[in-house]
């Protein structure tokens, strides 16, 4: 299970190789075998023995800021697997094969979004007209992306980013129209979120980000050597590249939380120019997201939990990198859940 420490003043220690959480007169014992990760979102005290116990059992400790983005994590002193992977990763960053991978990832992301829009469309008989135009437009972008082949790396990078941006704007515009009247939003906003939907979506992305980073480290990939600049972050980072096809997990969770009327006004702290999830809302969102990731979907002819797909794909990417003859281009994930 994932353990979220969110009440201030919680004390995390260990006794007889079992984690003990204490907060005033509440206390909870947890076996390291049952814990997958600790997520610390508030002021807590952690003893070094507890950290050691977590490290010995491969449990990662992630620290989140108020937006749900990870600020840091405690992980063992070395990365997984062989350094050869990271050397190859740097080489790919130099030539354009890294960018080809990103192109595939983006194609996948957009493909997933189209499938999701179609699912929403089919669930709303009589209102299909709201979706059809956008779906066609995004599909057209997808086709353009297919044939895009820039003169040089920079050209190609700009084209991909441009197409991705256009498609994302159209996508969120139509998502907004699927929302209940009260929660319609005007486009994406990050840091700060300007409306409840964006607050929830940002929080889900943040959770996903932590998980993708973990998958990278385990697979032996360096999370900091990415292939494409991402819009909001002015740095290259593999995590932001690899997360693209999986963003759909966060988007589906967020959309269904609102369309299923699970979100209430008192889950949010409203300020003049920003909205953030508060202590009542976070558990609801986190639980929905964890539940979504725990579900099994069809993936490469197997039934796999969504959160394990991240790990499978990170490993596939690593294997592709150290595969010298590059003949086997990975066909990116084929999740047939829609």
């Amino acid at each position: 299970m994932q353990v979220y420490i969110h009440s201030p003043g919680t004390y995390l220690t260990q006794k007889n190789e079992i984690f003990r959480l204490k907060n005033q007169d509440r206390s909870l014992d947890l076996s390291p075998r049952k814990v997958e990760s600790f997520v610390i979102t508030n002021q807590a005290m952690i003893t070094t023995q507890a950290i050691n116990l977590a490290l010995e059992n491969n449990i990662d400790m992630v620290f989140l800021d108020a937006f749900g983005d990870p600020t840091g994590r405690i992980w063992f002193a070395k990365m997984g697997s062989t350094a050869l992977i990271r050397r190859k990763q740097l080489e790919m960053d130099q030539n354009d094969s890294g960018l080809m991978i990103v192109k595939d990832l983006i194609k996948n992301k957009i493909g997933n979004q189209v499938k999701f829009l179609k699912t929403l469309k089919n669930a709303r008989p009589g209102k299909e007209h709201r979706f059809i135009d956008t779906i066609l437009a995004i599909e057209k972008i997808l086709q353009t992306l297919e044939v895009t082949d820039g003169e040089n790396v920079i050209d190609l990078r700009n084209t991909i980013m441009g197409l991705e941006g256009t498609s994302a704007r159209a996508y969120f515009k139509v998502l907004a129209r699927a929302m209940p009247e009260k929660y319609r939003f005007k486009g994406r906003s990050r840091r700060p979120a300007k409306d409840p939907f964006n607050a929830v979506l940002n929080y889900c992305y943040g959770m996903l980000y932590g998980k993708v980073e973990k998958a990278c480290i385990i697979a032996g990939l360096d999370p900091f050597i990415g292939f494409l600049h991402t819009d909001n972050y002015n740095k290259k980072s593999l995590v932001f590249d690899l997360i693209e096809p999986f963003r759909i997990f966060a988007e589906t969770t967020a959309v269904y939380l609102f369309t299923g009327r699970k979100m209430k006004d008192d889950y949010f702290d409203m300020y003049e120019h920003s909205v953030s999830l508060n202590k009542n809302g976070k558990p609801v969102v986190v639980e929905a997201m964890d539940k979504h990731l725990e579900e099994k979907v069809r993936y490469r002819r197997k039934n796999v939990k969504r959160r394990h797909i991240l790990h499978h794909e990170a490993h596939r990417l690593a294997n592709y990198m150290i595969d010298d003859d590059k003949m086997k281009k990975p066909d990116w994930l084929s999740i047939t859940e829609f």
């Binding site: 299970m1 007889n16 076996s31 075998r33 049952k34 725990e294």
Partner: protein, 98 residues
């Protein structure tokens, strides 16, 4: 493969009893009564625990029962009075908030 398991014991020696109780907790079992543990175990952990118990108990005076248990029967379990958290013992809690 993981399975639900009940572990029920009657051990005279304090030292052995405490040692085993710690071992059970370490593997993630939940204490549901003074000398009863319940939880989900990997099947090799189940065997391992059996071996550990076998190594320390006094066969003349003590007894330890390890019952594997299937989901179907677990749904039919009746609990009266002070109960335990069914979801917790069945590993159904994915996110624990504290």
């Amino acid at each position: 493969m993981s399975t639900l398991a009940w572990i029920i014991y009657d051990i005279t020696e304090d030292k052995t009893r405490n040692f085993l109780a710690k071992e059970f907790k370490k593997t993630g079992l939940i204490r549901v009564q003074k000398s009863v543990f319940l939880g989900r175990l990997d099947s090799n952990r189940f065997d391992e625990l059996g071996e550990i118990c076998d190594g320390v108990i006094n066969p003349e005076t003590d007894s330890v029962y390890l019952f594997p248990f299937c989901q179907e029967d677990f749904q039919k379990v009746r609990v009266l009075g002070q109960g335990f958290d069914r979801k917790m013992v069945n590993d159904e809690i994915l996110s624990q908030f504290f």
